[in-house]
Structures are given as structure tokens and as C-alpha cells.
Symmetry: C2
Subunit: 155 residues, 2 copies
DNA sequence: TATTTAGTTCTGCAAATTCAGAACCAAGTA
DNA sequence: TACTTGGTTCTGAATTTGCAGAACTAAATA
């Protein structure tokens, strides 16, 4: 067993980042795994290293890893003549993630439209606000690609 | 008891929007209350109307309403000589909400910076990606006000 | 063939969440 | 003073979640 260790300071960062991820509704163990792979000096860790460093059970580790793999937050590489998988955070496509994240935020737009359609003409002020929100969400959605471009060119 | 009712279609919209709100981690009952106040023809509903329309208990209604009040998602008005409170969704400041929402998203930037500081110089590629994310989040945060302005002027 | 490795799957418990029901309370009304 | 109204607060029960532990498996190795 390779003796992989992280410092106290790193442990604290794992917890902090873990809690941040928890806000998105993911289960604690999976959040710790994600956080560990970001904070750790080594960017590629094995099942055993994750399990030992976080002090969680095999089943929890297995569950967390598979959750993250299907959520496309993790990937792994293998090495010739080595049965272990080396997991790493899939942050290379953070741009895609962020765009998805934002368009997910704007996904309420569709629902709001549906709601606005059935609202009575009477409640004008309220309807107008809804319409404004929808309009802004649409605008935002359209604007995101340009934002990315603008940032790229500014670097 | 005023006989306030919503249609089947509206009930379905309340559920849909309710589920959407649930994704943000709020408890189901509170999400239904929010959704009802958006979908309903009447924009101001009493405790009793909410309770009856959603078919939930007094305690659940009380809990949900107070949760939403402290979360600043709801407000209420009163009428002279009427002890009832009339609750309504606080969507008027959706712009503020959305900005908060976005800056909350960018709040991970601070944490990422902290993490990047402690990362070893060795893992260069990984560190560069982190640095890029941080840079983009900062850019985004700075850009949001301009986005709002741009949208306002386009209307 | 037995053993090790790298996990997966199943069972079940412990904790947390969520809500209903009932008791309660304070202000206004009869 | 008793009753009604518009809630709040306090159990407790039903789910749901999250994970440990143990048994299991498939591939590689001895």
C-alpha cells in the first residue's frame, strides 16, 4: 500500500470545497472525493488512496466514484500492466460545465413561459415581471457564448 | 372560508415548478408554496388559502411560510381591520436575486484561489486550468452589471 | 489450484428530513 | 367572560439518505 498522505491544511480545504459541492445536492462522500482530487498534490489517485485518505468505506468509495463517473465529473486512466484505475477530476472541460450550469439556470425560462401563458390578463404587473424575467433569461442564454469569446480575446 | 380553487392544469404547473425549486435544496412544502404563489391567478393568498389549496397541514404551512420569509422569497401585506396576512412571492427583486445567484456561483473563485496557492508547482497543467477558471469567474463577476445594462438598453 | 488485487453489491443501521396532528396562544369579537 | 381567528410550537411517526461492514466476484498472479 502506497503511503499517500495529505496535510492538515489540505484536509481543511477538502472539507471546505466538499461543503461547497454539497450545496449542489450531491452526497457528502462524493463531494469529498471531488474535493480531494482538486486539492491533492497528486492529480491522479487510486481507489485505495481515496478510501484511505478520506477514511471512508469501500462501499462509500465505490458509490461515490461511480456517481461522479456517470455525472461526468471524474475520469480515470489506466497504466499498462496495472489493474488499478487512476481517477482524476474532469476539470478540463470546465467551460462546458459552466455553460451547462448556466443554461441549467436559464432552464426555468421554459417553465416560466408555460406559466405565463395560463396567467389571467388581469394581474398585469405580476405578468410583466414574469415576462421580463423570461426575456432576461433568454438574453442571458444567447449572451453566454459571446462572453466566453470576449474573455478569450482579453487574456 | 373563501372558496379559492385552482385548476388541474395549474396544479400540475405548481408541481413542476415545485420540483424545480426542490433542486435548490429547499423542502418540498416550501417549494409548493412558492410555486403556488407564482402560478395562481391571485398573487396574494392567505395562510388558509395556501393550506387548503395545497392540502398540507397547518404546521407544514407555518413552517414553509416562515422559511420563505426568512429566506426573503416571500413577503406579506395586511389590510386595515383584517388580521390575516396576504402572502405573495417576492419576485419584484428578481434582478437582485439573479445577481446574488450568479455571484454565489462565482463565490467558488475565492476558494479556488486558496487551493491554488497551496498546490505544488509541479502539477503545471492542472494549476493552469485552475488559474483559468479563477480568471473566468472574476471576469464573469465583473461582467454581470454590464450584462444587465446591455439588456436594459436593448428592450 | 490457491491467493491476491481491485473493486462491486447487499444488508441493515443511524441520522436527518419532513410533515401531520394536537395542544397551545394572543388578539379581537360576541 | 367565552368564543373565534390566525396562526405557532411541540411531539412523534414515516420516509429518505448515507454509509459501514461483510460477502461476493472477476482477473491476475503464485
Amino acid at each position: 500500500m502506497a503511503e499517500f498522505k495529505i496535510t492538515q491544511a489540505q484536509k481543511e480545504l477538502v472539507e471546505k470545497l466538499g461543503v461547497f459541492y454539497e450545496k449542489s445536492g450531491m452526497q457528502p462522500a462524493a463531494c469529498r472525493v471531488m474535493a480531494l482530487l482538486i486539492v491533492s498534490d497528486q492529480t491522479e489517485l487510486t481507489f485505495e488512496e481515496i478510501l484511505h485518505t478520506l477514511g471512508i468505506s469501500k462501499s462509500a468509495t465505490s458509490g461515490a466514484i461511480n456517481l461522479l463517473l456517470t455525472a461526468n465529473r471524474l475520469e480515470y486512466i489506466t497504466r499498462p500492466g496495472d489493474r488499478k484505475r487512476y481517477f482524476r477530476a474532469k476539470i478540463l472541460n470546465w467551460k462546458v460545465d459552466m455553460l451547462q450550469n448556466m443554461s441549467q439556470m436559464t432552464s426555468i425560462g421554459t417553465l416560466l413561459k408555460e406559466i405565463n401563458k395560463q396567467r389571467p390578463k388581469a394581474s398585469k404587473e405580476f405578468n410583466n415581471i414574469l415576462a421580463e424575467m423570461i426575456s432576461f433569461l433568454e438574453f442571458l442564454n444567447a449572451e453566454i457564448p459571446f462572453l466566453l469569446k470576449k474573455w478569450e480575446s482579453k487574456k
